[in-house]
Amino acid sequence: MIHVEHLHKHFGPVQAVSDVSFDVAKGEVVGLLGPNGAGKTTTMRVITGFLRSSAGLVTVDGIPVSPEEIRTRRLIGYLPENAPLPTDLEVTGFLDYIAHLRGIATTAIPGAIDEMIDTCGLATVVGRPIGQLSKGYRQRVGLAAALLHRPPILILDEPTSGLDPNQITEIRTLIRAIGQERTVVLSTHILQEVEATCSRALIISSGKLVGHGTLSELMRASGGHARYTVALRAAREVIRTALEALPHLEIAEWLSGPTDERQRFTLAGQDPEDRSEEIFGWAVAQNLTLAELTHETASLEEVFRELTQTP
């Protein structure tokens, strides 16, 4: 749906985005991840046709954004960072204005607005000017405006920034629901957000694409190792001997005293593969009583830090 090829964008001498290429397929929910000032917003602004690229090609549904930005804008619903909205308009008045400019048939507008008020949970703020709304509601009004024309593509710039935990959960649920049938690109610097909503992530740092793929792919690429915390009711020696049957795992650390009746320890895997079931099977086969088994993946935080650290 979205194709970005060797995108460059500079503001005077400042290189905001350099040589970024990626594709977003139909129906994907992709997270654009990166530290603040990495070039996420700039990339999105080029895709939406707000900014012009300095070099490179961006197409939306096969249509080049420049020079056919008016056509590509029709396909995109865009929520800019911090949801800037005219403060003087009333909620439905604003949606009505956007609906007209989006070219929605006049007869279909009231229905579309009602639907959005329903989807985005705006019923309680209808009739109030946007300037009086809280940040969370503004964000929802912005989202409603972006969704109004049922765009096949939705671009959201930090949709949950500045919201309280309840609102974040609500917006994420909403995004997941929307992502069922639409292509969504969202930017964030919050890693849980990607884990919670996206199927794939693109990691941008200092204007460059430093990593992309599904979350497990990213973890594998960063050389993350899986770790397991295991507790068994057996003596250390017994466990050591039994472990020879598990070739991919080795003991990283003992967490209990050497003579404890129940031994707790961490196992380190040589790869990020999830081997919890194998461990369970092994314990059963060795006739050991398994008291605890926790799988700890290399966290996305680690991957992120590793990929975005400037050397």
Binding site: F11, R45, T48, G49, F50, L51, R52, I70, R71, R73, R74, I76, Y78, P80, N82, P84, L85, P86, T87, D88, L89, Y97, I98, H100, L101, R102, G103, P129, A145
Partner: protein, 238 residues
């Protein structure tokens, strides 16, 4: 076309959401009526030449106030990003904002009609020059408005937009006066005289509508709206 109308409607009603438009209109009416009737009864002539003579000077402050927020506010709030990612071409947005401002100026002029009716009641008013004067005033207001909009697109600060708008309009108004252009008939003086807003208004204020003057105002409007568009393309979207 539909988009222009949608934007015009929204931008025009935006004036009346806050008390600003009412403050503008009332101030405008009080000032014009006061300045006009103060001398009207002394002169005792049933015409509105005096009124139209005031217009370039009153509009000098009134019109930049109408224009100041139009882009500056959008820039400050960041709503330019919303507007410029809608499938609407830039020219439509510019024209929409221009027509909305022109609408407010027209409203202000319309509200001075009781003044004309009063004069018509007091003496024998020749309506021809009055209608001509109103049309000319609208064109003059449009020229100031185009200047003000262009300046508004350069800043996020409405006050700066207002002050610079007044300064630029003032420059354009006086550039053709003998004090600046010189009384000579040299080529530079003639060009300056032609460029100045005031020279084109003196005949209008007398009630003479010359198509050359209207063409002049239309080109000033066209030129500044074009500059406005270029500025928005280069500054706002880089």
């Amino acid at each position: 076309m539909k988009n222009i109308w949608t934007i015009t409607k929204r931008e025009f009603t935006a004036y009346f959401v806050s008390p600003i438009a009412y403050v503008y209109l009332i101030t405008f009416l009080v000032v014009t009526n006061w300045l006009f009737f103060r001398t009207f009864f002394v002169l005792g002539q049933a015409d509105m030449r005096l009124f139209f003579g005031l217009i370039p000077w009153i509009f000098l402050f009134f019109v930049p106030a109408v224009a100041m927020g139009k882009w500056a506010e959008e820039r400050k709030l960041g709503t330019l990003e919303v507007l410029f990612t809608l499938p609407v071409c830039l020219l439509d947005i510019i024209l929409g904002k221009f027509l909305a401002g022109l609408g407010l100026i027209a409203t202000a002029l319309l509200l001075t009609l009781p003044m004309a009716l009063t004069i018509a009641g007091l003496g024998d008013l020749d309506w021809g020059p009055v209608i001509g004067g109103y049309i000319g005033s609208l064109f003059l207001g449009g020229a100031y408005l185009a200047v003000g909009l262009t300046i508004s697109s350069l800043t996020e600060n409405q006050i700066i937009a207002f002050i610079l708008g007044v300064a630029a309009s003032f420059g354009l108004l006086i550039i053709g006066t003998p004090m600046i252009a010189g009384g000579s008939s040299g080529p530079i003086a003639q060009v300056l005289q032609y460029m100045g807003l005031e020279m084109h208004f003196t005949s209008i204020a007398r009630g003479v509508i010359d198509s050359r003057d209207l063409i002049y105002y239309s080109s000033v409007i066209g030129f500044f709206l074009y500059v406005n568009r270029k500025l928005l393309e280069t500054f706002a979207r880089r």
